[in-house]
Amino acid sequence: MLNYSETQDDMILVLEIAEQRLEASNAPDLRDLLVGRIENGSDQIVLDLRQVTFMDSSALGALIGGVKKMRGLGTLALSGANGPVLQLLKLTRMDKVFPLYPSISDAVAEMKG
């Protein structure tokens, strides 16, 4: 069970995660969500992590699974990452894998640009 909201802004799909923790218990749902949307043809995705305060390696694995599914044919961007989440992303150099933006609007503006 993963709580999130979904909005389509032009070609860009925005998935706003409404969970405080992304961990082993909901990581498979996150992976399924991302893989499902990509298989349905979404190639411009912004995943907003503003509300997430903790993310473990399983959730990171789900994000990596999403990127691998995209195979460089599209963009999976992260926005709003902060605190421990941002630390984890930096520790694991995920800025090299995902474009990181401070907010959804920044991400959308950049991706439309």
Binding site: D56, S57, S58, L60, G61, K90, L91, T92, R93, V97
Partner: protein, 644 residues
């Protein structure tokens, strides 16, 4: 109260009600039949008694005339014989009656008959002797006897009436007719005596009495004619001939005769005419009596037939009701109560788990067929459920067995994994201590430290995302790759390059993992570090200074051609390097509060002066006690390398 008892009570009540309704009806019909049967016999006796009375009256008249004229009465002998015969026959009939009162009438009648017979013999003897005086005396006595016998017989007739009564209106009318005949007969006989010439009291007195007798007969005739016209004319019709004859012929002729005696008209002719009418009237009286008897017999016979028909009908009805009652009883017990009892029994059986086949008999009622169908469906579903339960139990057994096998396989894998982990020991110039606490049997974490050359020692730690068998197997594969990477360091291939090769060769089919590689060099008193997504290690200087080192890096298996950075730092005597996976600080307590890196660093700063062994204990107790259940949510692994 169950169905069986309720139906038993209902049927008993129903049966008793039917019996209470039918039995009196049958008995009543039977009684009517028997009583009409009796009435027929009684009527015969009655008629005999009546005929006897008429015969006696005529006999008396004959005797009177004999006494008056001295000539033998022509009809006397016949009248006497008739009276005796009728009396005897009536006596015989009564003797056979079942009614005690009627039976008692038999003897008196027989006695009267005997008296008449005996007297007739005496009288014949006296007459044969020819003594005129004796004959006259005998005549008087015989007259007296006839009067007495007639009186007694009439008394018997009265008793019969009292005992038997009049059964219906038709018989009532016929009884009245007989009384009428009796009256007419009396009047005729009186006329014969009174109007006879040379009578004992002389013609004048006789004529006066005849006149009054005529008046009386007229009155009687009128009376019964009125009744005849108003009341049951069909029955009284039989007497009308007599009445009409008396009215139209007898009375005028008698009047003529009376007038002739007074000197008006031809006396001889009038007397002859009257004598003829007396004979005719007497003949009519006899005929009417016979017709009345025939009528009463016919009426009673038809009544008896009616009673018999009614009795038969009641018997048939009773038989029908009994058969219907028996049939309903049979139907209800055999085709309702018994099947229902059986169904009840079977349901109890099914509830108790006895699923014997259901025996189905031929049933008359379709509703019960449905009940039996439902019962069968119930049994089949119970049977199916039983089989399902058996299947489930068998499946459960399989699962337990499979789980046991799986468990032993996982245990075997865990043993292999544990065998990969080195014991705390000194390798070259480095002493290694460790803390390892998997969160499940097989861990996603692993580590190793190996001697690379005389002066160099290698260390790596790996954390495969997740834990359990899958993560454990990947971690073992990663372990082997990491050992190869450390051994792959050559003069022209540094640690970072070796890790790059490892990353490039890591199968995309396998999960990514984080890792930390360290190469300790005794000669230059430095250490080189490659951080692949793993937490920053903690460097504790000999002087107690605690710092985090490393600049982060991509995990292994995320990006194909990833480039890894290598940092070099001083690592001299007494320095300690703490390498750990995120499980050590990503541990949540029951309030959902994370242990955190900050808390760990603080703990290390607070205990910087501790020996390595004590430090391991401090960390262990702090981390483990954070989670009250004592089971960390992720693998906890820590390796401390100390330069000695």
């Amino acid at each position: 109260m169950n169905i069986r008892n309720t139906l038993a009570v209902l049927f008993m009540a129903f049966g008793l009600t039917l019996a209470a309704l039918l039995v009196p009806q049958v008995l009543e019909s039977n009684r009517t039949y028997t009583s009409t049967n009796d009435q027929i016999v009684v009527d015969q006796a009655r008629n005999d008694v009546f005929e006897a009375v008429l015969a006696l009256r005529k006999g008396r008249t004959a005797l009177t005339l004999l006494a008056m004229r001295g000539e033998a009465g022509i009809g006397l002998r016949d009248d006497l014989a008739a009276a005796v015969m009728f009396l005897n026959r009536a006596a015989q009939t009564f003797a056979m009656s079942e009614n005690a009162v009627l039976r008692q009438l038999s003897d008196p009648l027989a006695q009267q008959a005997d008296r008449l017979s005996d007297n007739a013999v005496d009288f014949a003897n006296i007459t044969a002797l020819g003594d005129a005086e004796a004959i006259a005396a005998a005549l008087v006595m015989q007259q007296q006897l006839f009067v007495e016998v007639q009186h007694e017989t009439l008394l018997v007739r009265q008793q019969i009436l009292q005992e038997v009564g009049i059964p219906d209106t038709v018989m009532g009318a016929l009884q009245m007719m007989r009384n009428y005949i009796l009256s007419v007969s009396n009047a005729l006989n009186d006329d014969l005596v009174l109007a006879a010439p040379n009578g004992p009291d002389g013609n004048r007195i006789g004529l006066r009495q005849v006149q009054s007798s005529v008046d009386r007969m007229t009155t009687i005739n009128q009376f019964y004619s009125d009744i005849a016209s108003a009341y049951r004319p069909d029955t009284i019709m039989v007497a009308l001939d007599l009445a009409a004859y008396l009215d139209s012929t007898y009375l005028p002729t008698l009047n003529n005769y009376v007038a002739a005696v007074s000197g008006n008209g031809n006396l001889t002719a009038a007397q002859r005419d009257w004598a003829t009418t007396v004979n005719d009237a007497d003949l009519l009286v006899n005929q009417t009596t016979a017709r009345l008897f025939a009528m009463s017999q016919a009426h009673l016979t038809s009544e008896r037939e009616e009673a018999r028909r009614m009795l038969n009908m009641m018997l048939i009805l009773t038989a029908f009701v009994v058969v219907m009652f028996g049939l309903s009883l049979y139907l209800v017990t055999q085709h309702i109560v018994r099947p229902l009892t059986y169904v009840q029994l079977k349901i109890n059986d099914i509830a108790a788990g006895h699923l014997d086949p259901i025996i189905r008999k031929k049933l008359l009622l379709r509703d019960l067929d449905t009940v039996f169908d439902a019962l069968r469906a119930l049994r089949i579903s119970s049977r199916r459920r039983e089989m399902l339960t058996a299947d489930r139990l068998a499946l459960n057994e399989h699962i337990v067995e499979a789980h046991g096998i799986l468990r032993s396989e996982v245990d075997a894998a865990a043993k292999v994994q544990l065998s990969l982990l080195p014991r705390p020991e000194r390798v070259g110039h480095i002493r290694f201590s460790s803390l390892f606490q998997p969160s499940s049997v097989v861990a996603g974490d692993t580590y190793d430290f190996i001697n690379l050359s005389d002066t160099r020692v290698g260390l790596f730690q790996i954390d495969v995302a997740g834990h359990g068998a899958a993560a454990g197997l990947v971690s073992m594969a990663a372990h082997i790759s990491a050992r190869r990477a450390l051994r792959g360091i050559k003069p022209d291939i540094n640690l970072a390059q070796s890790v790059q090769t490892m990353n490039a060769h890591w199968s995309p089919e396998l999960t990514y993992f984080t890792a930390l590689f360290v190469e300790f060099d005794a000669t230059s008193r430095v250490a080189r570090l490659v951080q692949a997504g793993h937490p920053h290690p903690v460097l504790m200087r000999k002087d107690g200074k605690v710092l985090r080192i490393g600049q982060g890096g991509l995990p292994i298996g995320v990006v194909d051609g990833a480039v890894f950075d290598m940092i070099e730092f001083d690592f001299d005597y007494g320095d300690r390097l703490l390498v750990f996976s995120d499980g050590i600080y990503e541990n949540f307590n029951s309030e959902g509060e994370i242990y955190s890196e900050e808390r760990l660093v603080q703990l290390l700063q607070d205990n910087a002066s501790c020996s390595t062994a004590d430090l391991v204990e401090v960390i262990k107790s702090s981390v483990v006690s954070w989670n009250k259940a004592g089971v960390p949510s992720d693998d906890v692994s820590l390796v401390i390398a100390e330069r000695i």
